[in-house]
């Protein structure tokens, strides 16, 4: 298997509640950089969350999402895109407060993101 980076965020702290969500969800105050966070998307595919530390900033400063794929096989990019959308919905639901899945869905539809448009028609 290999890890293929499919999405990267340099600055989780832009809205600190997003960073707090990852700290809670993956026990990062205790785990730190010792191991990735693991997710399984609705498709069944596995993803590794690699957290990034940066001197002078609260941990984690960033996060990369890597698809776990067979070593010599290309990515199924359409599947990855749907999985990422599902992961973003999970993140937004977990952050909570003013951040709602409905607002994410509406934003995706406004920008004609295929998976968001498709879900709105389901």
């Amino acid at each position: 298997m290999r890890l293929a980076r499919v999405l990267a965020e340099d600055w989780l702290g832009h809205y600190p509640e997003f960073r707090d969500f990852f700290v809670r969800s993956f026990d990062l105050d205790r785990v730190g950089l010792a191991r990735p966070g693991w997710l399984r998307a609705p498709s069944g595919a596995a993803y590794a969350l690699i957290f990034i530390g940066r001197s002078g900033e609260p941990f984690p400063s960033g996060v990369e999402i890597h698809a776990v794929v067979p070593a010599l096989e290309p990515l199924d990019e359409a599947q990855v895109d749907r999985d990422l959308w599902a992961i973003l919905q999970w993140v937004v639901a977990g952050v909570g407060g003013v951040w709602t899945v409905e607002a994410l869905q509406a934003t995706g539809q406004l920008f004609r993101i295929a998976v968001a448009v498709q879900q709105s028609g389901d």
């Binding site: 951040w99 994410l104 406004l110």
Partner: protein, 302 residues
Amino acid sequence: MDALALRDGIHQQWPFAPHFARVNGWRMHYVDEGAGDPVVLLHGNPTWGFLYRDFVAPLTEAGHRVIIPDMIGFGLSEKPTQENDHSLDGHIANLTALMRGLDLQRITLVCHDWGGPTGLGFAFSNSERVRALVLMSTWGWPLPPAEFHTRIFPWRMMHAPLIGPYLLGRHNALARRGVYLSVVDRARFVAGAMTAYEAVLPDPASRLLTWVWPRWIPMDDTARARDRFAWLERQLRACVLPALLVWGREDDVFDPAIFATRFKQLLPQAEGPHLVTGRHFLQEDSGPEIAARIVDFLRCVP
């Protein structure tokens, strides 16, 4: 994206020779046409010099030298790939490096969107080089931002952590759909211009600044750029430069009733605001009309 890789349809509208300068270690692309007192045309997010394609001929024919830089991170300039490579002060310094490198004097700065805070930052720290200001759909004060910028849907959600890189990075949502929604004549935009904005942001990593700039808009007193914007506002209050305000009548992001009015209060000597057909990207709908306004304005500026 190399200048030579621009598609034929874009070349026909953008026939200008590319120039490159090294600014703060980055490769900056700019256009340099005509001769005379320079008019420097500054774009914002997520556009590039192409936004001003209809301005070059009228301004050069009126006896001006036209300089159109592509902000580092956009257009044909180098595109850093780490968020920390971008800051408001850094972009002001990039512009300053180009202006000093070309040793421009008697500059008229034409500022749109983030070309406003960066252009004004240069103007107020290099006032001996600046002759006049033209301001369009921009701002130069810390708080409050437009009501639009305070909303979760769509603005704050659009550039939230991970969501910005997904929507604006993987899907190029701002250069594709965002600009489209912010012009009046959308059919004409699709037929003649949209490709030019998409083509220079071909890969997710090349689109970084499209979600980084929104994160630099001050939303509260802890914002990174709050002090710089407060300085810009103080400088605007003290500014006596001749100025021209041009705004899109249909601008629902930087509402002319709020933003043009505020500039008029800060710069009472300013001509205008002149309202033209246009939303935020008013140059797409009224480029020749705005260019003519600038030519007329500069005829009266000493």
